[in-house]
């Protein structure tokens, strides 16, 4: 058996949690076209300037919704996130009038051989 390293897309719906005056999602982002892509530990291609999930708080809305650390956020509520600055990304995620954000993320995963199932 062998390991296959591939990426797949996932749609994640996060319901924001109200904390005092703020609506929080419970994760942190890194990246952006104005940032240094070589310092991103999660990207496979070190010239990738996309937005990545760098931390997911435990028990927060993002974790509940299934967001994982290392996911690359491709769209937020239909807005493209692959060519935005860091600040623009933050703004798109923290719009005050939105309670739900629908993210399209790309995740890399290590899957054990499909071959085993093929043999059996």
């Amino acid at each position: 058996s062998f390991f296959i390293f591939f990426s797949f897309q996932q749609r994640i719906e996060i319901h924001k949690l109200r904390q005092g005056d703020n609506l929080i999602l419970g994760f942190s982002i890194g990246g952006g076209i104005d940032q240094d892509p070589t310092q991103n530990p999660f990207s496979e291609d070190k010239t990738d300037k996309g937005i990545y999930v760098t931390r997911v708080t435990e028990g927060g809305p993002a974790e509940v919704a299934g967001l994982q650390i290392g996911d690359k956020i491709m769209q937020v509520n239909g807005w493209d996130m692959t060519m935005v600055t860091h600040d623009q990304a933050r703004k798109r995620l923290t719009k005050r009038n939105e309670e739900v954000v629908r993210l399209l993320v790309t995740r890399q995963s290590l899957q054990k051989a499909v071959q085993q199932s093929m043999m059996s």
């Binding site: 994760f27 942190s28 890194g30 104005d34 940032q35 240094d36 310092q39 760098t54 931390r55």
Partner: protein, 526 residues
């Protein structure tokens, strides 16, 4: 104190000999003392004695082995190590024989011949313009045209040019020859030939056109003499360029490695012949390389001897043509044997380092303490206490006993004791005291082995060197040439490499073009 006296008495006997053949004597006697001991050592390592039929000597086998084809273990096909006593005796003999040869006619004659030829030619050349001017006056004075102002001006010109030529020749060529070289300097010989031909042709012309025909145009004759002097000045210029300037620009880098301990240096040389390059290397050798110390080499020799001494091969099948088998078996066994000589070397070296450092610390402390007892008297103080005043030599003798033992021990540990006699140490001490040197400055000479120049010239300088080269020694240096400078105890292997052709290009940077950006990686929580 007695220990210091001991070393002095051992070597005082040798100080009466001159030259370096005594050095060979000394080495020979040392090795003669050593060889019976090493033979005893190998005998004691034998554990089994078997009566063998007469076997062929191993050395003979090795020699024949080397000629046969397969050289798989080329790294190990070194011949067995013999004692050094035979070698030193034969070298001594050779040195004695060659010295006798040289003391007869030989090289001295050649050197003086060259010098006299050059001197005679120089004198001839110098007197020629004067002769050109004077001969018509002497021989046919009455027929000559009177010498006008132009002509007399030319006299002054000739006089000064000759003076300049004389000074230039003196500055450039009148030097003590500092070395005896095997072959003639090509450029010098060429220049002498050129000058000779030149002057000869001038005389020829003069003899035919002026002397024979008794030319009366005196001004023309003087101008002819002036043209000769001008041409001589130009030849002098050519001599400067060929002999002095051409080799100043560095073209080759030369690596010099001493064969006994691997000490190496690099030098830059210009276009020189091999013999001149050898001279430059030797001049720098005395200044840059640490002095050759045979006492430091005995350790590796004894290690190597021990490695091969423990193995003996016995032929149990009777005398057969098994020469190859024997030596191969020996080499294979030596390689496979699990000997811990590397371990020994490591611990021995670590131990030696520790001992040297300890002795050095004791020495430094002793010397510092000794120096605190000496104080320089100022001029005013000198009148006050005339009884206690000492000159530097006495002061040195006064403080020497307190540091003598530590110094002696240190020199023994670093095997330098033969380079420093008590007298030389006292001299150095009084020299340091006179010049207000600190203890560290005094010790600098003993803590590190210095270049050969530092030591007594007569004992340690090897005046006889042999240049061993595959190319003719008057050839110029080329890339890849290797030649060897041999003296009695060691040799210097010289490897010549050409300085590569460098392509240098320029790049202009506008000072305003230095701009920078911040590269961030921020993390925001949402």
């Amino acid at each position: 104190m007695s220990a210091a006296m001991d070393t002095e008495s051992t070597y005082s006997g040798y100080s009466h000999y001159s030259g370096h053949s005594k050095k060979a004597h000394r080495q020979g006697s040392r090795d003669r003392h050593k060889s019976p001991r090493s033979k005893d050592g190998s005998r004691s390592e034998k554990s089994v004695t078997i009566q063998t039929p007469p076997a062929e000597p191993l050395l003979g086998n090795d020699a024949s082995r080397a000629e046969e084809g397969q050289d798989d273990n080329w790294g190990e096909t070194t011949t067995a190590i013999t004692g050094t006593s035979e070698h030193s005796i034969s070298q001594e003999d050779i040195a004695r024989i060659s010295k006798d040869l040289e003391d007869s006619v030989g090289l001295d004659c050649k050197r003086y011949l060259g010098l006299t030829v050059a001197a005679v030619l120089g004198l001839l050349v110098f007197l020629t313009p004067i002769a050109f001017i004077l001969l018509p006056q002497i021989l046919w004075r009455d027929d000559l045209e009177p010498c006008g102002t132009v002509c007399e001006g030319l006299f002054i010109s000739v006089a000064f040019k000759l003076l300049i030529l004389l000074i230039g020749t003196w500055a450039l060529f009148f030097r003590q020859p500092k070395a005896d070289i095997p072959r003639v300097f090509v450029f010098r010989a060429l220049l002498l030939v050129l000058i000779f031909l030149f002057v000869f042709s001038y005389w020829l012309f003069y003899g035919v056109r002026i002397l024979d025909s008794k030319d009366t145009n005196y001004q023309g004759i003087v101008q002819y003499a002036v043209s000769l002097v001008d041409a001589l000045l130009f030849i002098h210029y050519l001599a400067i360029v060929l002999l002095e300037l051409r080799q100043l620009q560095p073209m080759f880098t030369v690596k010099v490695v001493r064969s006994t301990d691997g000490e190496s240096r690099y030098y830059s040389l210009g276009h020189l012949s091999i013999q001149r390059a050898a001279l430059v290397v030797l001049e720098n050798y005395y200044k840059d390389f640490t002095v050759y110390n045979p006492a430091l080499l005995t350790a590796s020799k004894s290690r190597a001897a021990k490695h091969m001494a423990g193995l003996k091969v016995y032929n149990v099948d009777g005398p057969g043509n098994n020469a190859s088998g024997q030596s191969r078996a020996m080499i294979a066994a030596a390689a496979r044997r699990r000997d811990s000589s590397h371990n020994e070397l490591y611990y021995e070296e670590a131990d030696h380092e520790r001992r040297v450092k300890k002795r050095r610390a004791r020495l430094v402390v002793a010397v510092e303490e000794a120096f605190t007892h000496i104080k320089r008297l100022q001029a005013e103080e000198q009148q006050k206490a005339p009884g206690e005043m000492m000159d530097p030599r006495e002061a040195a003798q006064a403080i020497f006993p307190s540091m003598a033992r530590a110094l002696q021990k240190y020199l023994r540990t670093t095997r330098q004791q033969q380079y420093h006699s008590m007298e030389s140490i006292l001299q150095h001490l009084s020299f340091c005291i006179t010049n207000n040197m600190t203890p560290k400055a005094f010790l600098e000479r003993y803590l590190n082995p210095g270049p050969t120049l530092q030591y007594d010239r007569d004992r340690w300088f090897s005046k006889q060197w042999t240049l061993v080269s595959e190319e003719a020694v008057t050839n110029g240096l080329q890339d890849g040439i290797v030649f060897v400078l041999k003296c009695l105890d060691f040799s210097l292997v010289v490897n010549v490499k050409k300085i590569p052709f460098i392509k240098l290009s320029e790049e202009f940077i506008d000072p305003k073009s230095h701009k920078f950006v911040l590269r961030l990686q921020s993390e925001t929580s949402v």
